[in-house]
Amino acid sequence: MTKEKTYEPKPYSNPYLVGLSLGLVLLAAFLIMGRGLGASGAVSTAVAVGVSKVAPEHASQNNFYKEYLGDEAANPFKDWLVFQILGVIVGGFISGMLTHRVKVTVEKGPNISVRNRLILAFVGGGFIGFGAKMARGCMSGQALTGGAFLNLGSWAAMMAIFAAAYGVAYFVRRQWL
């Protein structure tokens, strides 16, 4: 497959202005809710609920699932992070529509097949899922939220993210370049 260019979507916005807006959104979350942004927490809740549906006994013995199931009184999906991620999906879609960037496609470099790209996407997602829980938060929860809070562990995790990504980038360059 070669690079396809049907029409020119609008260029992405100035990164500093985007960063400023993102910072203000994050600050709003801090000021209104007293907590930051997150993404992987919603998936964790979904996984925990899924496991407890299939094997309730098993889930109730696992400290990790228990954390996301909470007490039986409340529906685990009535959670801040779950609603927030629903918002992310809607918000991303709105912005994509406004700028003609919604397009069913696979993002990849020219030197990799779609199949391999999807395999790598799955593997990468697996690493992220595992890492996000190990680091107690993903890029949104640790690097961004914790970073703004000047949280020690978040900064350590952030440095590790960049170090590892730069370290591994060379080996997967065929995927992107």
């Binding site: 960063g19 927030q84 496609t105 899922g129």
Partner: protein, 200 residues
Amino acid sequence: MMPYFKFDYFSVDFSLVIAFVIGIAFGFVLERGGFGNARILAAQFYFSNMRVLKVMFTAIITAAIGLFYFTWMGWLDLSLVYTTDTFLIPQIIGGAFLGIGFIVGGYCPGTSFVSASTGRIDGMVYILGIFFGIFVFGETLPLFESFFNSTPMGRVTLNEFFGLSHGLTLFLVVLMALGAFAAAEWGEKIMAKKNGRGAE
């Protein structure tokens, strides 16, 4: 006093509405920044497009400055803002996993939802991967739970750890970010020359 939720200004149910609205803003901004596109995110790690660094550090210093001044004005009780406790070693190892996942998969969790909602199939597959990764973590956690809970340091910030004042730490972070921006702009120019095309 802020944060409003911690002072019972509204109910848990209403907080979910706020979560949804803040999520929309979050997703909107991420998409504007080009973070729904794996190639733009990955370009960060080949020095050809430093958007990730620019957006992230601008956001971090914006929010950090905001937190500082709202606290200084007495409008915000910083001790009520939730932040994760530090478990240094597991977080560094976890961070390494995140970094690997980032460059291999091309997204981080937040951006993958944006990419999926804007039609990227790789983003959707990536989300399945996150489900799988978290499932594996949940299933294997009992094997390394003691490691997961090792080096606990509680709720600790950079300034507390290094014994600096909050303001000095913020100043250093801002300086570091501005330095990183300058380096990023400079690096992009070099790479653009080398590749014979524009960075953006």
